[in-house]
């Protein structure tokens, strides 16, 4: 039972990181019908940018709430700018092109970001400092919860609730939903589609940046090619939940995190990805558009 509860905590932590990354995939897919293969590499980039920002600005002064918040805000801002540039340069020229052309462009963009990280920070693993968060540990009947885990769960819950309210309760959110349903009709209603796409990339990239920083803080070791691994898991999470669907991405992320943790705890982490994709294929066989995805007929 202890293993189960411990893996439950670990799984929810990883799951909420997956969910944050999955939101970036699902929002872009919802609006542009494009798998943004470069998103995972943006997440990796944010780990490295965050590390550099932290070591340059606060290495000597110790940690304070202000320092940590500054690192997060600064990194998120940089990654958001990169995300917007990515859309401008690699995706916008292809918006009317065949869909697979944009997929190849996204794969190319991922390659560019990944190799830029390698050229700037080197091919070796970098280690994140351990003193960003206090090393407090709570031991509840043998189940260990760290301060970092609490921070991850808390921050991601707040961000997800905020995003949900933003999408469903504000005028801008309504515009985003309108563009996702029908771009042309939205344009006729006076919505600036380019601006909406830009906002999507700002939000998606910033959420990915937060996840990337937490990945660095939680796992400590970061490598230039880790974006692919986390990106793929998060993307699978988005599909399991129903891609294009924001609550679906949150649900899919948490579910996949829990599933992975239980597989690692009870079977073997060497088979984790196999089980992940078997879960995906089984879900898709029975629910071809994901668990929370709407059953829509393809337009003829």
């Amino acid at each position: 039972m202890d293993i189960f509860l411990q893996q439950l905590v670990n799984g929810l932590t990883i799951g909420s990181l997956y969910a944050l990354v999955a939101l970036g995939y699902t929002m872009v897919y919802g609006v542009m019908k494009l798998i943004n293969f470069a998103h995972g590499d943006l997440v990796a980039l944010s780990s490295f940018v965050g590390l550099t920002v932290y070591t340059n600005m606060f290495a000597d002064g110790g940690t304070s709430i202000v320092a940590v918040i500054t690192v997060f805000m600064f990194t998120a801002a940089i990654i958001a700018v990169v995300g917007v540039l990515l859309e401008r340069l690699a995706y916008r020229p292809l918006r009317t092109a065949p869909r697979l052309s944009a997929v190849v462009s996204a794969l190319g963009a991922g390659l560019v970001i990944q190799n830029s990280i390698m050229l700037i920070w080197g091919p070796n693993m970098k280690i994140f400092p351990s003193d960003l968060f206090p090393s407090t540990i709570w031991d509840i009947n043998g189940v260990v919860i760290t301060f970092t885990q609490v921070m991850i769960l808390g921050t991601s819950s707040i961000l997800m609730i905020a995003l949900y309210l933003f999408i469903n309760r504000t005028k801008m959110g309504t515009a985003i939903r309108a563009v996702a349903i029908d771009q042309d009709a939205a344009k006729l209603m006076g919505i600036n589609v380019n601006k909406i796409v830009m906002i999507i990339f700002v939000i998606g990239s910033a959420l990915g940046a937060v996840a990337g920083l937490f990945i660095g803080i939680y796992y400590r070791g970061i490598t230039f090619d880790m974006g692919w691994t986390y990106g793929l898991s998060a993307f699978v999470a988005a599909i399991i939940g129903g891609i294009g669907n924001i609550p679906g991405a949150m649900f899919g992320g948490l579910m996949l995190g829990l599933f992975n943790a239980l597989i690692s705890g009870y079977i073997s982490s060497a088979w984790a990805e196999t089980f992940t994709f078997m879960l995906l294929i089984i879900v898709l066989i029975f629910r071809p558009t994901g668990i929370l995805g709407e059953k829509t007929a393809e337009k003829v």
């Binding site: 897919y29 798998i35 340069l89 690699a90 020229p93 292809l94 092109a97 065949p98 869909r99 697979l100 052309s101 944009a102 997929v103 190849v104 462009s105 794969l107 190319g108 963009a109 991922g110 390659l111 560019v112 990944q114 190799n115 830029s116 390698m118 050229l119 793929l232 993307f235 699978v236 599909i239 891609i243 060497a270 088979w271 990805e273 196999t274 992940t276 994709f277 078997m278 995906l280 294929i281 898709l284 066989i285 071809p288 558009t289 393809e298 003829v300």
Partner: protein
């Protein structure tokens, strides 16, 4: 004979004479190019012709390679005898694994096939059946022996791969003018319309996967013999992405396009090996630029044209 056919014949003749003036390092690159172009054509049957978003093709390529490697090193089969299983095993595996997911829409199929490739790699690395050699792979694969002769020089390998490419091109040409090819053409244009005209979309898409997997398996067998070793990383998702990109960068459903794509995506990185670290950066930029400038690939098939075999008697 049309002008395009003349050019194609000319290119083939030139390729046939390459061993006479290339040194052995470049000849090895040439052989690998031929093998990869066969894989790219088999990917094109599935992606370019049947229009199924398939990003796990390296798994079928690897199945063929591992079939040859395992049968030869563990069970002592001669290489010639492993050719048939190297084609049939990927075909059967493709039919079994793809049939439950063939109904998935575009992007979902893409991710599911990535998943198949990742499962394949994990099976190899974790050595599920104790015969795959784990992460190190399998070494010491024999050379082709026939008529008391060992086909082991680079030139021999080159010509074997060249013949395989010739067979592949023949199959592709035959497909184009067959019932299967016409069905593919229709499904790719509009699968719902095709279905309502009585074409069994599911059957033909699976057919495409089976043929594609079989051809990739044959290429895999050739690949295993050329390097006399196989290891999991030669067949991982990145390789699948490369085959996927080759078809789209070159021009899907276009024979010269796919060949050109293989040159751009495979041979050029070999040429620019000196730039070592930065080359994949350039490579990524080139992928973006190609797609922006030529969204349908470098040498696209002319879409909207009715193929000549449909035009007979309507002039």
């Amino acid at each position: 004979m049309t002008k395009t056919n003349m050019i194609a014949l000319g290119v083939l003749v030139v390729m046939g004479f390459i061993p006479f003036f290339a040194d052995s390092a470049w000849l090895a690159v040439g052989t690998t190019f031929l093998v990869y172009s066969v894989v790219a054509f088999s990917q094109d049957i599935i992606l370019g012709r049947a229009g199924a978003f398939h990003m796990g093709h390296a798994a079928f390529f690897g199945l063929g390679a591992y079939a040859t490697a395992i049968l030869n090193t563990q069970y002592g089969w001669p290489i010639l005898a492993t050719w048939a299983p190297a084609v049939i095993i990927p075909m059967v595996v493709a039919l079994i694994t793809i049939s439950p997911i063939i109904h998935l829409r575009g992007d979902y199929l893409l991710v599911a096939t990535i998943g198949l490739n990742i499962i394949f790699i994990q099976v190899l690395e974790n050595d599920l059946f104790g015969i795959t050699g784990g992460p190190n792979g399998i070494f010491g694969i024999d050379v082709v022996r026939a008529f008391g002769y060992e086909f082991m020089s680079q030139t021999n390998m080159y010509y074997m791969a060249f013949i395989l490419l010739g067979i592949t091109l023949f199959i592709m040409k035959t497909l184009d003018s067959s019932k299967f090819g016409r069905a593919m053409f229709y499904i790719n244009k509009d699968d719902i319309a095709a279905q309502s005209m009585g074409i069994n979309v599911r059957y033909y898409k699976l057919y495409a996967f089976a043929i594609g997997a079989g051809l990739a398996g044959a290429a895999g067998s050739m690949f295993a013999v050329q390097y006399s070793a196989v290891s999991p990383e030669a067949f991982n998702v990145l390789q699948s992405i490369m085959f996927f990109t080759i078809v789209l960068v070159g021009g899907s459903a276009s024979l010269p396009g796919v060949l050109l794509g293989t040159i751009v995506m495979f041979v050029l990185p070999e040429v620019f090996r000196e730039f070592a670290e930065a080359r994949y950066l350039v490579f990524g930029l080139a992928m973006i630029l190609t797609m922006i400038l030529r969204p349908r690939g470098i040498w696209p098939v002319k879409f909207g044209d009715i193929p000549s075999f449909l035009k007979k008697g309507t002039k």
